[in-house]
């Protein structure tokens, strides 16, 4: 757990994790409403 002592790694890791989580959340929420998104978040036709 030494990476927990490195400030830069902590911040990069935290933002990467949260960004991934919210990206997945957005894709999931729109998909369950029948409004699928492309990878770049634009509406899929």
């Amino acid at each position: 757990m030494t990476f927990l002592q490195n400030t830069i790694l902590i911040w990069i890791g935290a933002f990467a994790l949260v960004l991934l989580a919210f990206y997945g959340l957005d894709q999931f929420i729109m998909a369950v409403q029948g409004l699928p998104l492309n990878l770049d978040m634009t509406p899929a036709q």
């Binding site: 902590i10 911040w11 890791g13 935290a14 994790l17 949260v18 919210f22 957005d26 409403q33 509406p43």
Partner: protein, 640 residues
């Protein structure tokens, strides 16, 4: 004194008793109406019920005629199939008592609703506070919960008085409408009355038995009674809601208003559950705000430091309840409006696109007041501990976001303009402010205001703690990342999908915004819970908060009360000239949407009356704990 080995009843007996009662309540033997709904749901019965509702009247064809069958008193089966349409009323069906019937009913109904909301909400959070006190062994919680119930008890009888008066007023002034409602809801009204008896009995046992069942196993019995009280109270709420939602979106009747379904089909209309959820949450927020005002009243009139400390803590808890319940309320309101649009686009547009749309701007002002007052109280309360100095620099940024969000929310879309003003603007919408008048901008503003209000809460909770877990740095980074990404997500979803894609995506993306806000609240509460383990607690000085902060606690119930009256006017007005939307016309002299100015007066009168009565209740609660000093004996030396 409590002895640990004194077992009045085994610990789980209360819970088992509750489960048995709940189970029995749902058994077909006790509720034949529900049973009828279950057993009669075969395909043919459904087809028979749905068929009249689905009958479409074609353009140019005559209006469908419902044959009024001669009642066959000998055949029970024929009686069930009898279709009697809703009555078509004339002016002579409405008694004239010399004053506006609608205004009389409006005032009484509004006051009944205020008190009912309060007395149904208080036991909900009192039960939680009592349980916390019992589990933690901190009896301050128990005392506070008991005091909350004392206020609620006085309000309970006033609720019943207004309820009875409302029933009399409705039967006197709208006899045909009430006759129809009685025919539709039938014996359910008697079940409602029975529930009211149960509510009264449980409430009195819960309050007066507080000290008799305070410790050990007896406390579990008391908590079970509290739980039953809330089950009955919430059932009363949803039953009464079914009457209101039936008048807006009738179900279980055909297009002529004739009853085609059973009571369950009549109750579970399309707006019932959205209304249930919205009122349930709003009641808790309202109840929290009212008891917060009581705490502020007692704080300001306290004579000793101990009293000040007690009522300061009580005020903080009340504000916590009010704002916590308030945070998900806009989402419940959004769901209710979405369902109204889904049920009838015309009704939705009447609410949000016509004359009533302006009231949503007034609503924004009131909600902005609530959020600013709630946040201000939290910021003031941070002065109770020195640890808050670490976070006070953030307050100005939170205030900035709240004010900007508030201004965006109150920006109207459609202005009432003269031709000269239109020419000056270059159109009916301002080129910069116009885009702020539509829902995507307001959704961004609301969600950001809620996120930043939660940030105030989080800072408050952290202000008296020094976190000691070894992963504190990583935990803080994760919390900051959640806030930043959620805020970016809310803005992105609102701007991109709201302004640059079609309407379907615009509506769909609002769910992303709601979920982003909820993610912030839930994930930060969870992370904080783990981070607070083993934290060093700094001393809090209860009672040393400024008097000024207590006025924020007074602002909350005033804004909440006015807001409830305002939005109640909107909810009721969307029926326009119908008693029961599309099936029973209102032909009274006042069958139109009340003008905003008149409605404003009515709403303000109702709010003022409620506040005067609630102040009387506060005084009553204080009076019960006031003891007159015994008379001093006359001595012989005093005589002439």
């Amino acid at each position: 004194m409590y002895k640990k080995k004194q077992h009045i009843m085994p610990k789980w007996a209360g819970i088992l008793l509750l489960l048995a009662i709940v189970g029995f309540s749902f058994s077909p033997h006790l509720l034949p109406i529900v049973a009828a709904a279950d057993t009669a749901m075969d395909a043919q019965a459904i087809a028979e019920r749905i068929q009249p509702v689905g009958k479409v009247r074609l353009l140019g064809k005559p209006e469908p005629v419902i044959e009024e069958k001669i009642p066959d008193t000998l055949s029970h089966e024929n009686q069930e199939q009898e279709l009697i349409p809703a009555p078509k009323l004339t002016r002579s069906d409405y008694p004239n008592i010399g004053v506006s019937s609608r205004s009389v009913v409006w005032l009484i109904a509004q006051l009944h609703l205020f008190f009912a909301a309060f007395v149904l909400a208080v036991p909900l959070f009192v039960l939680v506070i009592e349980l916390i006190g019992f589990k933690t062994g901190d009896w301050r919680f128990d005392d506070m919960a008991h005091e909350f119930m004392k206020i609620s008890l006085s309000a309970y009888s006033i609720t019943a008085l207004f309820g009875g008066t409302l029933a009399f007023a409705l039967f006197l002034l709208y006899p045909q409408f009430m006759a129809y409602m009685m025919r539709v809801f039938n014996t359910q009204t008697l079940i409602y009355a029975a529930l009211f008896f149960a509510e009264s009995a449980l409430l009195y046992i819960y309050y007066y038995g507080w000290n008799a069942m305070r410790y050990g196993d007896a406390k579990w019995v008391h908590l079970t009674i509290g739980l039953l009280l809330n089950v009955v109270g919430t059932t009363l709420l949803v039953v009464a809601n079914s009457w209101a939602s039936f008048t807006m979106a009738p179900s279980g009747v055909n297009e002529m208003g004739a009853i085609t379904g059973n009571i369950w089909e009549i109750m579970k209309g399309p707006l019932w559950n959205p209304l249930n959820l919205h009122r349930f949450i709003a009641n808790i927020a309202f109840g929290g705000a009212i008891v917060g005002a009581y705490a502020a009243y007692k704080f300001l009139s306290a004579k000793t430091q101990a009293e000040k400390a007690h009522y300061d803590w009580m005020g903080y808890t009340s504000n916590f309840i009010a704002i916590l319940a308030f945070l998900p309320l806009p989402f419940a309101g959004y769901w209710l409006m979405a369902e109204i649009y889904a049920y009838s686009q015309q009704m939705g547009i009447t609410a949000m696109g016509g004359i009533l749309a302006w009231l949503f701007v007034v609503q924004a002002v009131l909600i902005g007041t609530i959020l600013l007052a709630g946040n201000y109280y939290l910021w003031s309360g941070m002065s109770r501990t020195q640890g808050s100095e670490r976070y006070t620099w953030l307050i100005k940024y939170i205030a900035f976001v709240l004010v900007v969000g508030f201004l965006i929310w109150v920006t109207p879309h459609t202005l009432i303009l003269s031709p000269a003003e239109v020419a000056t603007l270059g159109g009916s919408h301002h080129h910069l402010l116009g885009p702020l008048g539509i829902m995507p901008a307001k959704n961004i503003a609301v969600n950001l205001m809620l996120i930043f209000t939660f940030l105030s809460f989080q800072l408050y909770r952290r202000s008296d703690k020094i976190i000691t877990v070894p992963w504190a740095k990583a935990g803080n980074a994760l919390i900051v990342a959640i806030y930043v990404v959620a805020i970016v997500n809310v803005i992105f979803a609102g701007v991109y999908y709201g302004y640059f894609t079609n309407t379907v995506y615009k509506v769909g993306s609002s769910v992303i915004q709601v979920m982003s806000t909820l993610m912030v609240i839930i994930s930060c509460v969870v992370i904080d819970t783990f981070m607070f383990k083993g934290a060093k607690i700094l001393p809090s000085h209860w009672g040393k908060v400024s008097d000024r902060s207590q006025y924020a606690l007074f602002a909350l119930p005033i804004a909440f009360t006015w807001l409830m009256a305002l939005m109640g006017y909107v909810r009721s007005s969307v029926r326009t000239h119908w008693h029961v939307y599309t099936v029973m016309k209102d032909n009274s002299p006042e069958n139109y949407i009340p003008a905003i100015g008149h409605a404003g007066n009515m709403i303000t009168i109702a709010t003022l009356l409620f506040l005067v009565i609630i102040l009387f209740i506060f005084w009553l609660a204080s009076l019960s704990s006031t003891k007159q000093a015994p008379p001093v004996e006359q001595t012989a030396t005093g005589g002439a």
